[in-house]
Amino acid sequence: MSAQALESDRATNAVGGVPEAGPFDAWLPASAPATGEPGWLTAARTAATERVRTQGVPTGKSEGWRYTGLRALLEQGFTPVDEPLDAMLREDLDDLLVPGLDAHRVVVVNGSFAPHLSDLDDLPKGLRIGGLRATLAEDPDALADDLARIAGDGAHVFASLNTAGMGDGVVLLADRGALVEKPVELLHLSVGMDEPKVAQPRHVIRLGDGARVTLIERWASLGDALYCNNAVLEIGLGRDAVLAHRRVQLESPSAFHLSGVYLRQGAGSRYDGINVGLGGRWARTDLVVRFAGEHAECDLSGLYLAGDKQLIDYHLDVQHGLPRCTSRENFKGIVHGKGKAVFDGLVYVAKDAQQTDAAMSNRNLLLSQGAEVDTKPRLEIYADDVKCSHGTTVGQIEPEMLFYLRSRGIPEGLARRMLCLGFAGEIINALGNEALAGYVSEAVGGRLQAAPL
């Protein structure tokens, strides 16, 4: 297990080792964990609470936070959601669904599993989906190898906060050999409350050997709500398991979003993850990959679109600790107005991880003078028989291309949108699901149409 545990950011601002009252104290649970919580989980919470106190708030000098300021988030004074929101009706979801998407649907409202909004009646054999609380209540040790184990200490203080304060979430368990044809949609719905609230859902996705699942994870809001999500997903893939994971973040322009995806891949397993980040005022995503067996493959790709008053940040941490694994990191970004995007991709190849095959690419299109992208691909290679590459580009729309379209009668604004969509198309088309690709394409097109290009 220690091989997968993560080095956490150590606090630089704890004075003399004495814990001060921290800005995140309000995020920590006020009461003792529910009775009947398994001891290993309580221990993990206690350790995480301890880490929150020592880790403190990352500053502009903290590794991984240089370009992602926390001031705006801290100013909101978020407190944890206390009561599950039961008032939502099925018809409230209508406008938020992906037209034409045929999926098993599991809905999370303000961080809590909402069975009455979910569609889980005809799950195929070998697939179980339920709430985190309910799963632990039924079998306290069902997740003992995964929950808080795959993520370990997590990438930073927000992972610790989630562990310390986790209330509910979703558990998806696919048995060995289960082949799930229809995608599973995990819809996070956030509703603004009178006070700014933070929800900290915790999900566990576990695929048994040879299981195959497509998971469409979406983030949506009712209206322009102001709130914060601080989510952690722990994903464990058994030998030769295959998970296609689509993540589409389209939250309200006032929302703060933090999500950490922690992945443990068994031998020969394949993870195919596509991240689409369009929404939120401030969004930080960490994708953390650890291999637990050889010949595993991990594809991380993404598309982000950041405009005025928006920051979108993706941090990748892929550790090749074992030989003969493959990883691909391919992120594309469009930044307009005074938008800001951050891409930080680390691929680490340990001394013994021979015949690692890794390729990272981050390409960005800046549509305005005020747009900013901070991109930092990092390869750290300690093995000598590897195939690794990385490339970064930051550019504008090619005048040649623009002129070609205009010379065919296409107005400049439309021509620019066509080129942006063309740039984004590689990632959108890779989504693989026609309904989802259409939905994302529409969202990107709509955003570009509204944006002053």
Partner: protein, 250 residues
């Protein structure tokens, strides 16, 4: 149709066109020939409205409108079409989507209803048949991974679809082998009509064996120094550009 008078244009403060006059009537095919660096492509680009060229003197009217004050897209909607010497690759932009956007932009401009997907596809099939083109080109991103011949055929296909009043073919023969040249020329010839004029810009006479011009102009040092019928092209083929430059200088 097109009237160019005393046109002077600079690129990076260097004067390329130095007082060019040209009259093109409806249905006429004019060839512009000339040595490298004479300003042929500059003329094509200035007419189509490409950025980076500054017109310092003269006028261009197209069907009575002052062409130089219009954006490239408006020129296109009015019926001007430039077949590029180097067609631009547009990664991720589907060729069919591109063609439909172009056609509908033009229809919108003229207050016509946009074509729906079905009517558009029917129209495309029809045009493809006339040009003997393979429809696999339509499913790919615009010009990406196309061979030189495919790119040029795609240009002619766009021309067929957009039905311009004046088509400017900028070095359409460059980079084509003889078979590809014949296919492209056949396409162009099928689009000749009494209402459609063409300006064929070329360095070599070869193209004019296939696309027969009504008039041939020699462009050198930014001016048209000689005009004539198609026999002028043959004379240039035999004697090169040297004699005509010498005569003009004399």
């Amino acid at each position: 149709m097109l009237s160019v008078k005393g046109l002077k244009a600079t690129v990076d403060d260097k004067e390329i066109l130095k007082g060019l006059d040209l009259e093109v009537g409806a249905g006429e095919v004019h060839a512009i020939m000339g040595p490298n660096g004479s300003g042929k492509s500059t003329l094509a680009h200035v007419l189509s409205g490409r950025e980076g060229y500054t017109v310092t003197a003269g006028s261009v009217t197209f069907e009575g409108r002052d062409l130089l004050e219009l954006d490239p897209e408006e020129r296109a909607c009015l019926g001007l079409f430039l077949a590029f010497q180097y067609p631009v690759e547009l990664p991720g932009v589907n060729n069919t989507y591109f063609l439909k956007a172009a056609l509908n932009a033009k229809r919108r401009y003229h207050g016509e209803e946009e074509l729906d997907a079905v009517s558009f596809l029917r129209l495309m099939k029809e045009k493809l048949k006339v040009l003997h083109l393979d429809d696999s080109l339509l499913k790919r991103p615009v010009n990406v991974g196309f061979s030189g011949g495919e790119k040029k055929r795609n240009e002619i296909f766009q021309m067929a679809l957009l039905e311009p009043k004046l088509a400017i073919l900028d070095e359409t023969d460059s980079g084509l082998d003889i078979d590809a040249l014949r296919v492209v020329a056949d396409g162009v010839n099928s689009l000749r009509s009494p209402e459609r004029s063409m300006l064929v810009v070329t360095h070599y006479q070869r193209l004019l064996d296939y696309i027969e011009p009504d008039y041939v102009h020699v462009l050198a040092r930014g001016r048209i120094i000689r005009s004539g019928g198609k026999e002028l092209a043959l004379e240039l083929e035999q004697k090169g550009y040297g004699w005509i430059l010498d005569e003009a200088a004399a």
